[in-house]
Structures are given as C-alpha cells and as structure tokens.
C-alpha cells in the first residue's frame, strides 16, 4: 500500500468518525435527506447520499432522530429532526469532541517544542 493510499484510508477513518456529529449538528431544524446533503456541502462537508440516507435511518432507529412524510408539496419528502434524546446525545458528543480537539492541540503544541 502506497503512502497516498495509507493517507486516504486513514482520512476516511477520521471522516467516518465525525459523520454522525456533522449530521446531528444540522438537525435542530427538520430537514429532508437531500437538503442535508446540500447544507453540509455548503459548509465544506461532502457526504455521499448513499452513505447519508441509510445513516439517518440508523440514527432514527437509535432514537436520535424522528421522521415524518410531507406530502403537501410537489414531491413527497421525508423530514428528519432531532429528538430530545438526540439533542442530549449530540451535546455530550460535541463536548467530547471539543475536549478531544483541545487535547490534540496540546499534543501538537508539545510537538512544536521538541
């Protein structure tokens, strides 16, 4: 495996770990799948639809999201929004993430001293 492949594979692992947090961060307001893909893309987070749709369904089965079909418009759409439980989980994950990034920063600062 070349250096490029190793980096790609490790980067993919990093991304995979952050997807749930990215999705939850955007779910305070109800969103349908594709609007979420666009919202994330606008902020520089590219998640493929074939990953995101099944993920939202999984988060729903875990009780973090809830969904409802909107059939009033020209096309029926399934809207997802965060549940109260999901919000609690999200807040905790965000705190952990902040701690992790702060710890990482410290590690990098130490690296600079060497």
């Amino acid at each position: 495996m070349g250096e490029k492949n190793i980096i790609e594979s490790l980067e993919q692992e990093l991304r995979r770990g952050t997807i749930v947090l990215c999705v939850l961060s955007q779910m305070k307001e109800p969103k349908y799948g594709y609007s979420l893909v666009q919202a994330l893309a606008e902020k520089g987070i590219d998640i493929e639809a074939n990953t995101l749709y099944p993920l939202m369904r999984r988060l729903e089965s875990q009780g973090l999201l809830e969904s409802s079909w909107e059939t009033d418009g020209s096309k029926p759409r399934k809207y997802y929004k965060m549940t109260v439980f999901g919000r609690g989980v999200y807040e905790e994950l965000r705190e952990n993430w902040q701690k992790m990034t702060s710890n990482m920063e410290q590690l990098w600062e130490g690296e600079g001293d060497e």
Binding site: Y32, G33, Y34, Q38, E48, A49, N50, T51, Y53, P54, L55, R57, R58, W69, K75, P76, R77, K78
Partner: protein
C-alpha cells in the same frame, strides 16, 4: 426510459433490504434521485444521461442495499459471534473428522475383502477414507455455520468461553513447559497408521526361520475379532494427544487426563495381547526357538514373551506418566494455585 431505469434501480435496491422498510426506502430514494436531477437540470428537463449519471453516483444497488442492512447483519457471522463460531467449528471439525476416520476403520476391518488387485484395492480404500472425512467435515461446517447464522439473526447471547478475570489469566508458560505440537501430531499419525496396518495385514507380520520358512505371528481372524480393543486404545491416544495440543503446556489437568488415558489405553492393549486367539498356534514357542536354543529359556519365552512385551510397554507408559506429572508440578504452580 429514464423512469424505467430508475424503477429498475429502485427495485434492485429494495429487493435486498428488509421487507418492512422497502416501501419507505423506495419512496425516499426516488425523492433523492428527483431532487438531484432537479438541481442538475437547473430548471430544465433532466436528460436520460443525467439520470444515469445520478444512479452511477449513488453506486451499485447491492452496495446501496447493504448500507440499509443493520450493522449486525452485514456479514453472515460477525463479532462477537465470529470468535465463538471459529471455536466451535474447530471442535466440531475435530470430532466429525475423527469419527469419520474411526467409522472408516471399523468398516475397513470388518468388511475387508483382500482378493483381487491389491494396489487398486488400497487406492479405493484411501479414496473412501478421504471421501468420508471430506463429507463429514462439510456437514459439520454447514451445520455449525447455519446454527451461528440463526443465532446471530435472532440475537441470541452466547457465553461459550466466558471472560476470564484478568487476575486469573494463565501465566506465560516456561519454554520447557510447552508441549511440542509436532510430537503430539506425530503420535496421532503414527498410532492411527500402526492400528490401520496392524488390523489390515496382521498375517504379514512374521519372521524367517533358519531353514528359510516364514513363521507368521498373528492369526488374522483372532486379531480382527478383538478390533474394538485396539480402536479404543488408539482413540484414547488421539484424545490424549488432542488435549495436549489444546492445552499447549504441561499442566496438572493435562497430567491427570494423560495418566487416565494412558492407563486405559494400556489396559486395552494388555487385554488384546493376552488373548491367545490373536497368535498363530505354537508361534510363541517358535519365536523362543529362534531367539535362544536353551530349553529353559525357550520355555520362559514361550509363556512369558507377551508378558515381557507388555511389561516393556507398561514401563514406557509409567515413565511417560511420571514425566508428565513431574513437569506439571514443576511448571504449573501459578495457575492451579489460583483455582
């Protein structure tokens, strides 16, 4: 045509997702495809190429469907079932493989008809053995796999091996306490080969007298009428060696089991060789004649030869048992102290 393409794609995806979410997934993916097409067409009419591009971007239907499977069902057998699956598969394979060999041996001994071309007869018997072992392993593999697929699908909790408390983890064995796998595998192979050959061709074991005549020691019918004693002995040897491989080092548990297995297999061998019917009439006296011309010695050998032979095996067996016990007490102190 584009609709057909979308329908075909959605059908290919949904037929592989769980029944209860099919309709929902179909509607949701259809909405997604239309949203993507609308955005790309920028107010115009989406083209067929555009739909094709969108579907290619979404990926192969089977991969898309896989994403909708619950984590635990993406693999036929995944963790934590996989470790138990391999554990049970090894045990079952050893049992069914061993049983197939034993079954073959029994059939071989009881149903031997050695007329005709011996080479083709050997080839046929070997082929039978391979076929029986292969079929037995396949059946064992299929049954265990199906069982674990069922257990995983049902989410049945397994505690087959349990979690050893950290404080009770076995010590790293001293190099001298390790039982060599190769020794035990050799013991298994040799004991099976010996039993097969002995039961197969007992009438070929003999010696040449001074006058050039051949004396055969064993009586084929007599030997084969007590086949079960030798099978019992070899089974015990294989079980003891198998346990040694599993244990991997000299422990008190292994010392106990090997002593019991050795005593039982030795007893079976003794009973076998004490049966007068297994020897050709008068052959022991002839052995004595060849070995020594002294009359006293001839008489001694005639009546005592089997006892001497068994005594020699017995001494070897006692040395091995003693060695195993000594090794166990020497190197198995920490683990048994905690039990």
């Amino acid at each position: 045509m584009s609709n057909n393409l979308i329908e075909r794609y959605l059908y290919a995806v949904t037929k592989e997702v769980p029944q209860k979410i099919r309709a929902d997934v179909e509607k949701e993916l259809h909405g997604l495809i239309m949203d993507m097409a609308e955005e790309r067409a920028a107010g115009g009419e989406p083209s067929e190429e555009m739909f094709l591009g969108i579907l290619e971007e979404l990926g192969p239907p089977s991969k898309m469907a896989e994403q909708y499977q619950p984590e635990s069902q993406r693999l036929i057998i995944s963790m934590p079932y996989y470790a138990d699956y391999i554990f049970i598969l090894k045990i079952v394979s050893a049992c069914v493989g061993g049983s197939a060999v034993l079954t073959w041996m029994v059939n071989f001994i009881l149903g031997t008809d050695m007329t005709g071309n011996i080479a083709s007869w050997i080839a046929a018997e070997m082929w039978n053995l391979l076929a029986e072992v292969f079929i037995a392993l396949c059946v064992g593999f299929a049954v265990v796999t199906l069982l674990f697929v069922f257990l995983q699908r049902r989410g049945v909790a397994l505690r087959l091996r349990g979690n050893i408390p950290i404080s009770d983890l076995p010590p790293v064995p001293d190099e001298k306490a390790v039982i060599k796998r190769s020794d035990k595998i050799t013991a298994i192979i040799l004991s099976i080969l010996f039993t097969i050959i002995f039961l197969w061709l007992p009438e070929r074991i003999g010696f040449v007298r001074a006058d050039g005549e051949v004396e055969y020691i064993f009586n084929t019918a007599g030997v084969r009428s007590y086949w079960y004693l030798l099978i019992l002995a070899v089974t015990l040897v294989v079980a003891e060696s198998g346990f040694a491989i599993y244990e991997g080092r000299y422990t008190k548990r292994y010392a106990l089991i090997s002593t019991i297995a050795n005593i039982l297999s030795y007893t079976a061998v003794c009973i076998f060789f004490m049966r007068g019917e297994i020897f050709n009439t008068g052959v022991l006296g002839k052995v004595a004649e060849v070995m020594n011309r002294s009359t006293d010695m001839q008489l001694f050998l005639k009546y005592r030869l089997p006892v001497l032979f068994l005594g020699l095996i017995g001494v070897c067996m006692l040395i091995e048992c003693g060695f195993n016990v000594w090794k166990a007490f020497r190197y198995d102190k920490i683990e048994t102290g905690g039990e």
